[in-house]
């Protein structure tokens, strides 16, 4: 660049040399135009610290939310389970078998013939019959029978007709009788 400029200058006629010399442009040294350094550094570090802190906070809060979510999910599951077990309890209380057993314990029996009162005119429909113990139904199952090998067949011993009508006869039948009744007891016991 400087070479063509130099040539141009040479072509200028040398008039008023001194004035030209005075008016000639010179390159002035560049003044170091520096921005204030402190605010910039402060700004950057603030951004940096702010960003890191913000990220940390965000992360922490997310983590916190996750903890809360887990805890609340646990709680929901627990409450759900509780509701279910309460429902089960309710079902157990409503079980017709339970109600019937309690009713029976109170001495209640189902009526043998239903009868109704029509509220509009007070007529009795059907034949009201008092319920009796015979109307009761068996609510509970019969107790389980013992297995066969635990229920020995009763041993029946025929009392020998004694030859003499003396004291031996009643004694003999008495013995057989006790044996029989003993067996009967065992049999009844096993059926219970």
């Amino acid at each position: 660049m400087s070479a063509p400029m130099f040539q141009a200058r040479n072509r200028v006629p040398r008039i008023a040399e001194a004035a030209v010399e005075r008016a000639r442009l010179t390159v002035v040294p560049r003044t170091p135009a520096r921005a204030a350094r402190v605010p910039f550094v402060v700004l950057v570090s603030l951004l940096l610290v702010g960003g890191v802190a913000g990220l940390l906070c965000f992360n922490t809060s997310m983590q916190q939310a996750s903890f809360t979510a887990t805890a609340m999910e646990d709680q929901a599951a627990r409450l759900d389970a509780k509701q279910q077990s309460l429902n089960m309890e309710l079902d157990a209380l409503r079980d017709p078998q339970r109600v019937a057993v309690r009713a029976k314990r109170m001495g209640m029996v189902p009526p043998s013939a239903p009868a109704f009162i029509r509220l509009s005119d007070g007529t009795v429909l059907g034949k009201p019959t008092p319920a009796t113990p015979e109307n009761a139904i068996r609510v509970l199952p019969l107790p389980t029978r013992k297995p066969k090998n635990l229920r020995p067949t009763p041993v029946v011993i025929e009392a020998k007709p004694s030859a003499t009508d003396g004291a031996a006869s009643p004694a003999g039948t008495g013995k057989a009788g006790t044996k029989k009744s003993h067996d009967r007891h065992r049999q009844q016991g096993s059926q219970r």
Binding site: T26, V27, P29, R30, M62, Q63, A65, S66, F67, A69, T70, A77, R78, D80, A81, K82, Q84, S85, N87, M88, D91, A92, R94, D95, P96, Q97, A100, P110, P111, S112, A113, P114, A115, F116, R118, L125, G126, K127, T129, I137, R138, V139, P141, L142
Partner: protein, 607 residues
């Protein structure tokens, strides 16, 4: 920063001597050369490091990729099955008969529990219904890390136990998900509802029949965890589970309970081998109760024998005996062959070909009307009346009554009964079929057939499922799909019902025990010879039954009771009648059906 303090090579300043610049140049060049070298060394270093990274990357991604993926997955990623909730099976009022609740199983690592086994076993045995010594054995089992301690424990209870054990500082007890299927009513309707086996699969009954509908579809959730909590921005994917549909039965739990108890008492009281009872809504065909004895506890199906796990009322077939006479009689009336007052001379016995037909009671020659034949349940009288039918006519009527065809109410293994084609009948076949021998039915089939009389001659197909449901076989069943067709005329049905009233009439009939004070009750007893299991012949045992409906002049419910092989010598009237009476009076009371108030016509049974 360092550049600032160093003199820069700037534009030439005036006044400064040139040589200074010339002197500086070589230094500058050497300086540039040094930084270039440094740069190159830096590049080489970076290249070396990067190529090490690249090599490692290749190793990780290319060579060992699968192994690391698996390792990473096992490390932090958790996949949980989100189990679908199995549909509830409800009765007609929405009371659950089978429901699923959250549950846990308690498992132990015996290597960790062996030290405090007795303490842990005490806590568990005290809170749960498990055997102390059994638990103790499991907690001490050598050479294993896994033992089941208790299964299907409600989760609150299981968590309580684990907390109690933790409180002692004992380790090695843990819980796992184990859905609990409970049957709150235990044995009530167990024959219909079925059960779930130990593996959690449907075992029987509606549970199995409607399994695809009830079970729904399991979902899954995959997420990364750290310390038991989800990592917020980690991998996350959820497939939501699809819950199963509920199933509603037409059964009324209370009626079912009562019926089951009555049947049990009837079977036990008569020394029978088994029994069944069916209660049906006359007009809709909905089954309020299908009771069986013996049956089982759906919560403990393992305690019962395999034969008791289904519904005998639908699976077993038997010869219905005299109850069938009402079908024959109504058909005869419908065909215009007889009226209730038709006079029939009933001899003491009736030879038919090589066979001789007897009545169950010895008698001389009787002069009975058709009503009398039904009231006294005379086989001979029925045969004489039915001989006016061609084979085909009787066969067609019986088919339309639903005999020999499955009811298809949605119970697994339902039998279709036996009604041979009329082309294969001989005269004696028609004679015995007319009074209910030589054909076989299941209890629901027979109840639906007799219900036709109660419903004014229109057969309503019975239903067990309220609304509509699809079975595992793809069949749609339920009360919405119920069909009706006319079998006999309304007049024939009415006249038959009146004849049936004479059965419960204490003066004329065979089943005074079935009568309900204040109500008009129509019914029919049945005492049939049974075919033995081994000899395929009548082995001297009986099937006794009673079918009836009330109020006879405006029927609302039909009840049918069958007891197999009673050993006390009882017949349909003495065994079935009282059981019918109990069931029917209960249903009439529960559903508030008042008596109609009209008086039954006095039956003419003799002439």
């Amino acid at each position: 920063m360092t550049q600032g303090s160093r003199p820069r090579p700037g534009p030439p300043r005036p006044g400064r001597p040139q040589p200074v610049q010339r002197r500086r140049r070589p230094r500058l060049r050497s300086l540039r050369g040094a930084s270039l070298v440094r740069l190159r060394i830096g590049f080489i270093l970076i290249a070396m490091v990067v190529s090490v990274f690249a090599a490692r990357l290749f190793q990780l991604q290319g060579v060992d990729a699968q192994a690391y993926v698996a390792k990473a997955r096992s490390e932090g990623v958790v996949t949980v099955t989100l189990p679908a909730t199995r549909g509830t099976i409800k009765d007609r009022n929405g009371v659950p008969l089978a429901e699923s609740v959250d549950g846990l199983m308690i498992v132990a690592d015996p290597t960790m529990t062996v030290k405090h086994a007795s303490g842990i076993a005490t806590i568990i045995a005290r809170r749960l219904d498990v055997d102390y010594f059994d638990v103790l054995d499991r907690l001490r089992k050598p050479d294993t890390h896994f033992q089941y301690i208790a299964r299907r424990v409600p989760s609150t209870e299981a968590e309580g136990i684990v907390q109690a054990i933790d409180a002692h500082g004992w380790k090695g007890i843990d819980t796992r998900r184990d859905p609990v299927r409970t049957y709150p009513a235990a044995d009530i309707a167990a024959n219909l509802v079925g059960f779930m086996n130990a593996n959690g699969d449907a075992g029987e009954g509606a549970e199995l029949m409607f399994d695809p509908m009830l079970s729904g579809k399991d979902g899954s959730a995959t997420y990364e965890t750290g310390g038991g909590n989800r990592i917020p921005l980690g991998d996350n994917s959820t497939v939501p589970p699809k819950s199963g549909h509920d199933l509603e039965l037409t059964i009324d739990r209370d009626v079912q309970w009562y019926t089951q108890r009555v049947v049990r008492q009837a079977v036990q009281g008569s020394g029978g081998s088994s029994g069944a009872a069916v209660v049906m809504d006359t007009h809709t065909g909905q089954l309020l109760s299908v009771a069986d004895y013996p049956t089982f506890d759906a919560n403990n199906p393992g305690l019962s024998s395999k034969a008791d796990l289904g519904s005998r009322a639908l699976r077993d077939v038997y010869e219905p005996g005299s109850v069938e006479k009402v079908l024959t009689a109504s058909s005869l009336i419908d065909a215009g062959k007889v009226t209730p007052d038709t006079k029939i001379t009933v001899p003491a016995q009736l030879p038919r070909g090589s066979h001789v037909i007897h009545d169950y009671f010895p008698h001389g020659t009787l002069h009975l009307t058709l009503t009398g034949v039904i009231a006294k349940s005379s086989n001979i009288g029925t045969v004489l009346a039915a001989s006016q039918f061609q084979h085909k006519e009787l066969y067609d009527y019986l088919r339309r009554f639903g005999l020999g065809t499955r009811t298809n109410i949605g119970v697994r293994g339902e039998s279709s009964g036996v009604l041979n084609n009329w082309r294969n009948w001989s005269q004696i076949n028609q004679d015995t079929i007319a009074f209910g021998q030589g054909l076989a039915v299941n209890a629901v089939q027979m109840a639906a057939a007799v219900n036709t009389i109660a419903n004014g001659g229109v057969y309503v197909s019975p239903s067990l499922v309220k609304g509509e449901a699809t079975t595992s076989g793809g069949q749609t069943v339920g009360s919405d799909t119920s069909k009706t067709h006319r079998v006999v005329s309304a007049r024939a049905a009415k006249l038959t019902a009146q004849m049936m009233e004479s059965v419960t009439n204490p003066d004329t009939g065979t089943a005074a025990g079935a009568a309900i004070d204040g109500y008009r009750v129509a019914g029919k007893t049945g005492t049939a010879q049974r075919v033995g299991k081994t000899c395929r012949c009548y082995d001297g045992t009986f099937t006794v039954s009673f079918a009836g409906f009330a109020p006879a002049d405006n029927p609302r419910f039909l009840a049918y009771v069958v007891v197999q092989d009673p050993k006390n010598g009882g017949g349909g009237g003495s065994v079935g009648g009282p059981a019918f009476h109990k069931i029917m009076s209960y249903v009439l009371q529960k559903y508030a059906v008042p008596p109609t108030g009209r008086k039954a016509p006095t039956p003419r049974i003799e002439w």
